[in-house]
Every structure is written in structure tokens, then in C-alpha cells.
């Protein structure tokens, strides 16, 4: 498969989305991308190509696919095969950009800013000002609109190639979790277990889904902090729980999963009632979320189904969203399956769409034992959800 397959699929899909949303043109405007990189670049250009000079990528409802880049980038952009017109410049992009837009004369030009979706918010404020100035003499500055709904749809609706890659990343993650199960013993530190996971991951030629210092995060026993903390010196112990949050990046697409183990105490044949009850509440809440995960559902309703289930089972409210898109990144923008809190802004009012891939994740503390956390990866199809991971149905006993 060509390394440019994703960019070609996504550029084609973007033109369709412009037609569906009736937006004339979409402009991605970037510069010096190693310093500030618009997340849309990785979809419609390349996951690793860097652009130093101001560069513009213009797609239109009519099917125009135009790139305007600095002299030294022309060949690399042509090699992608997604753009039918690649212009180059030396001194400055302004004139080529204005001339091109005058030719297309779009009624609306969507650019990448969004308050609620970080993945659709790749345009820096300085570049916004540059754009206003460049378009000031032409009649375009007043035609700029947010590309949020374009980027949301483009990023959220996975193509067959993207779905295959995520599925693959999930399968590798599950295989690594199986290896963890065989490796676990009482008395191991979180750091030891994290090193084992990194070793297994590297032997498969994979990288972590997010910052390696926090991937995996582990909660061993009742005294380890839950959340974005690096693996520490807490140790696994009989009668305690171990929760691991981990994902891999395979061919540019990620998984994001949580699993929970229980270390049987002497004389125990199965987990004790308090751990088992928490597990069932967490699993039930995930299932309640999955039942509400259908096309057209607003994100907050999916969250509410899972959140209410857990709280009605007698556990405290968790202070994070129930789910998020995954794709090239682990928080892949667009609709969040979260509560209507200020920090989620408009993102939880977005609707679930077919071909979205979401995680569902939540957990509950068990006093004296640790933390039960589960996270599953699911594909939304027109009629149902498809579990990309094999959902955990029992505490894994060590």
C-alpha cells in the first residue's frame, strides 16, 4: 500500500463532505510545522512531512485540490498524488493565495479554528491575522468560517483503511495484555510491569499511543494515584487490584484500552465480593454506554447512560468523559462522549456518526484493594456497534 493512501482517501472524502455540508472551499494554512502543527495536515497531506514556509491546501466542493507551497516542498507534495495542482513560490505566499482564491471565488472559506474541538483548531492566532491581512484587499476576509464541521466529519468518519489499522492496533494491544497476564506476580512494581509492556511492544516494532512516560499508566493497589501519573513504586499484592491503561500506535493509528487484574489472596478461589461488585458495576456502565452509542445520539447522552448506571450502582461520579474518538491520535477530536461541563464546551453536543471509532472508559475505586477500570474500543455502524476489542467480562485473576 502506498504511504500516501490515507491522504488520498481523506482528500477525496473531504470533497464529499464539502458537498454534503455545502461549504464552497476548505483552506488549511500552515507554516513551520515542527513548531506548530495543524492536526489536519496528518490527514490530508502526510503524518510526517514538515513544512517550513507558509503553505496552503485548498479543497473545493467543485473538486479542486490545490496546494501552494515553498519551492523546496513542491516535489514532496506532488509525490502524495492527492493534489491536482501544486503551485510553488519563493518570496511570499500572499499573491499566489489571493490569485487562486479569486479564480475559485468561493462564497465561504472554511479555516481550521474551533473552540470545542482541538483537532479542528490547528490555525494559530498569528496565522489567522496573517490570513486576514492577505485577504484584506480581495473580498474574502468576510467569507472565512470555522471548518469545525468539516474537520469533525473528516476526522471522525474512518475510511476502510483507517478502520483496518485501528483494528490491528487493538489486536496487538490485546496480545500484549495476554502476555502481561502470564508475567504478573505479587510484589512487582508498576515500573517493572511498565518496562515489561514497553519491551513486548518494542519487540512488535510498535510505539505507544501517547507519551511513553504515561503509557501505560498503572494503578497497583489502593495507594497508587489514579489518572495521568507515571508508573511508580507501588507493588502488586495478594488481595489487591491492578489496573492498566495502555494503547499502541501501529502504522499511524492507535488503540486505547484498560484492563483490570485481581491478585487472589491465600484461600481465595475467586475475587471477593467488593471487587466483584465494582467490576460488575463498571462493566455494566460500559455496556450501558455501548447501548446508547448509535448514529444520531449526542455525545452527552452516551456519557449520561454510562455515568448514571455507575452512580446508581452506588459508586462515585468519575471526573472525566466516558469516551472519545481514537484514530491517528488517542484523543482524536470531534464529538466527545462527556458530560455537559464547561471544559468540554460544544464537543459533547456533537452527534455520533457511522464509521466513528470511540473508546468507552470508566472506573471505580475499591477501598483497601485498588481501582477497577475498563476501556473498550468500538466502531459505530449504521445499525449497531461493533466491538473492536474483546470486552473484558471477568476480573482477570492472578
Amino acid at each position: 500500500m502506498s504511504p500516501h493512501q490515507i491522504a488520498r482517501e481523506k482528500v477525496e472524502q473531504a470533497v464529499e463532505i464539502l458537498r454534503e455540508k455545502n461549504v464552497d472551499a476548505w483552506l488549511t494554512f500552515v507554516r513551520e510545522t515542527p513548531l506548530t502543527r495543524d492536526p489536519s495536515l496528518s490527514l490530508i497531506v502526510s503524518p510526517d512531512l514538515q513544512l517550513t514556509w507558509h503553505s496552503a491546501f485548498i479543497l473545493s466542493q467543485r473538486g479542486d485540490r490545490i496546494a501552494i507551497v515553498g519551492r523546496f516542498d513542491k516535489e514532496n507534495i506532488e509525490a502524495i498524488g492527492a493534489y491536482t495542482e501544486v503551485q510553488m513560490y519563493d518570496a511570499g505566499i500572499g499573491q499566489a493565495l489571493v490569485t487562486t482564491l479569486l479564480r475559485l471565488n468561493p462564497d465561504s472559506i472554511a479555516v481550521n479554528f474551533s473552540e470545542s474541538d482541538p483537532a479542528a483548531d490547528g490555525l494559530t492566532h498569528g496565522l489567522w491575522l496573517t490570513l486576514l491581512q492577505a485577504l484584506n484587499d480581495a473580498p474574502f476576509a468576510g467569507r472565512l468560517i470555522s471548518a469545525e464541521k468539516i474537520v469533525n466529519a473528516l476526522r471522525g468518519r474512518k475510511t476502510p483503511t483507517e478502520i483496518a489499522r485501528i483494528t490491528d492496533a487493538v489486536a496487538d494491544t490485546e496480545a500484549i495484555f495476554d502476555e502481561v497476564t502470564a508475567f504478573l506476580k505479587p510484589g512487582q512494581t508498576e515500573i517493572e510491569i511498565a518496562e515489561f509492556i514497553h519491551d513486548r511492544m518494542k519487540s512488535r516494532g510498535l510505539t505507544t499511543a501517547w507519551d511513553i512516560d504515561y503509557c501505560p499508566t498503572l494503578t497497583a493497589g489502593p495507594n497508587s494515584p489514579v489518572g495521568h501519573a507515571a508508573p511508580g513504586n507501588s507493588r502488586t499484592a495478594r488481595g489487591h487490584l491492578l489496573q492498566i491503561d495502555f494503547g499502541v500506535n501501529k502504522n499511524g493509528y492507535v488503540s486505547d484500552m484498560q484492563r483490570t487484574w485481581y491478585f487472589l489472596a491465600p484461600g481465595e478461589a475467586k475475587p471477593p465480593a467488593d471487587a466483584q461488585q465494582a467490576f460488575e458495576a463498571v462493566r455494566g456502565a460500559i455496556l450501558a454506554g455501548a447501548d446508547s452509542l448509535y448514529t444520531g445520539a449526542p455525545g452527552w447522552k452516551v456519557d449520561m447512560a454510562a455515568r448514571d448506571y455507575l452512580m446508581e450502582a452506588g459508586y462515585p461520579e468519575y471526573m472525566h468523559a466516558t469516551g472519545h474518538h481514537i484514530g491517528q491520535t488517542v484523543h482524536d477530536g470531534a464529538t466527545v462522549l462527556g458530560p455537559r461541563w464547561e471544559r468540554y464546551g460544544q464537543s459533547v453536543y456533537g452527534e455520533v456518526e457511522a464509521d466513528n471509532v470511540f473508546t468507552l472508559e470508566l472506573g471505580a475505586a475499591v477501598p483497601g484493594r485498588g481501582y477497577v477500570g475498563l476501556e473498550e474500543d468500538l466502531l459505530v455502524t449504521p445499525g449497531a456497534v461493533e466491538w473492536l476489542s474483546h470486552p473484558q467480562t471477568e476480573l482477570i485473576c492472578v
Copy 2:
């Protein structure tokens, strides 16, 4: 040395710069940093810590060092030891941000947007709108100014720890170039030489200074494209030149250098006149640039000195800037030593300051032989420049 040494030095330096520039407060406002990451975070927080929720870092002339972050990030920010006050929130950052600013009541609040300096342009347009809205009821929206001059100075003026790290990266790069000299033979492809360089780099535990696919870039002979092209199948040959542009990242700081080799033809004891003449013109232009690189010089004047020298020597104008800062990144923002072209905006009007580290780079094609390119790394001191690299004084003969 603590992994947080750089953040501590830079936060302290930032407070001094606020006093010097008479700016009351500097606010770095970010969220979901794996998707859109403000380059200033790597200076004042951490090069690798990621922040998911909206997070604010406020420094003031009076010496306040305040972080406001989501619940799960509090411990990680406290561990840095650069912030004297770390607030956490759950539902949304707005109230804590406004309350804190009301308490400080700054006359001016610098935020990270800039048209001319990508390194000072980390605030996305969506976050700018969020900030305007959050500060709308408080009397602050009208007090927002660009932090460009703060970030320029902070990024550009290297601390002793930063200078030591860059010097170290340069030394490793020179050692690798020496290994390349011993390795080179006629008939090798650019790809083979790039693989050798990557192998030597990895054996030292280093990574590339920029995107590995384009680091190094090589120009073997007269038919290889000059510039941002990946290594290709052009081969070294007797009577031809080989130019390599390469840098490493060591402990988070980079080098950026170019060297040129000449492959002696049968019967030759030294490079022929056309190659030698180009080398002397290029070296002379670099020295002319270095002579003009003193505190207070505007960037464009340094560029002009080098550019004019090369053109007066009879070679065509190069279509890029003569130099740029290096530091945590290879194009480290702030003042560019470049011509007054549109695409460089205001960046070439900035002034050279003490403790800046710049590259000087330029080259000339030699018809039928290839390309001569040199790039050196220099530290600006109050009285002079200090060459961090050992400047190339002769074509290296193979």
C-alpha cells in the same frame, strides 16, 4: 541534573524579561497538547509532558508563578518545582483563571500569538476566542497583547545549561561527520550514506534534529536536487561533490550543520579550480555573515553581508535565509537572519542578542560537479561570536 532544570531556569529568566520589557503578566494557555502544542510549553513546563484539559501558566513581573491545570495534572506540574502556586479544577478553567487574574490585576497580559515568529505563535485561534469569552466579564479582554517580544527573548537567550547542551550536540555531529569521511567511497548512494549516518547516530543514543526522513539531506553530484528532498539514488563519483546537511538532538537540544566533500578524480591531488573557487566563495560568505553577527545587528543585515558576498563572488542568490536560531528545535523562532522578503515578515527586523545561538548556512552549485554547502553554529557573546562548530576551512577530499 534534574530533568526540570531547564524549566526552572527559563521560568526565572521569563520573570526577568517581563521586568525588562515592562509587561505585567504572561499567560500561556493550552489544551489537548498532543494535537496542538504551544512551543513555549517545552521551555517553561516540560519538553514531553502533555496536557489534556485547558491549562494556564501565568508569570508576572512581581514574580508570581502560577499554574492552573486539570485535576490529573496537578502532581506532575508540582513536581517541576518552577511554579509557586498550582491550582486544580474539575469542571472548567474559566472561574479559576478569572479569579486569579482579578487578584493579580495586570495592566497588560501577553499571550502567545505572533505573525512573524512561529515559536511565539502557539495560541490557536479557537483558544484565543475561548480566552476572549472567559475574560469578557472581567476587564481583561482589552489588555491582551502579543507575547512575541517575551517569547523571542526567552527562547533566543540561551541559559548556560542550554548552551552546554547545544555545544554537546555540535560535538557529536562533528564526530559523526569524521566517521562519514572515513566511510565515503565513490559509487555510494545517498541512501547508503544516510543509513550509515543514522546507524552512527543511534549508536550514540541520539535522534535527528529534524524529521528523520530529511535528516540528513544529501546532494551527491550535479543531478541530485538541492534542498528538502529525501536521500535518493544519486551516487558519489570521482570529480563530483557531496554535500550533507545534518544535525542531532541530544538531551533535547539540537545542532544543524552542513559539510562538503570532494571526490578526487584520477590524477588529481587537490580539488579543481571550479570547486575550490565555489568553496572559497561560500566560506567567505559565511565569514562575512559571522563578522556582521553582533549584538544589536538586525537579522536582515547579517543576511545581507553573507548574501552580497556570495553574489559579488559571481554566484547566484540563494532562495533561503542565511541563518536561524537553534535550540530545542532546529528553526528555533525569533529573529531570522534572512532577506526582507514577505515570507519572513517582521522576523528579519529583530536584533541579534547576547546568548543567541545561530546557524549560518548557504551554498553554491558547481555545474557538472554538484553543490558546495556549509553551515556553522555560533554563539553570540557581548563582544564577539564564538564558533560552537569547528568551521570547515577546506573541501574534505576523498
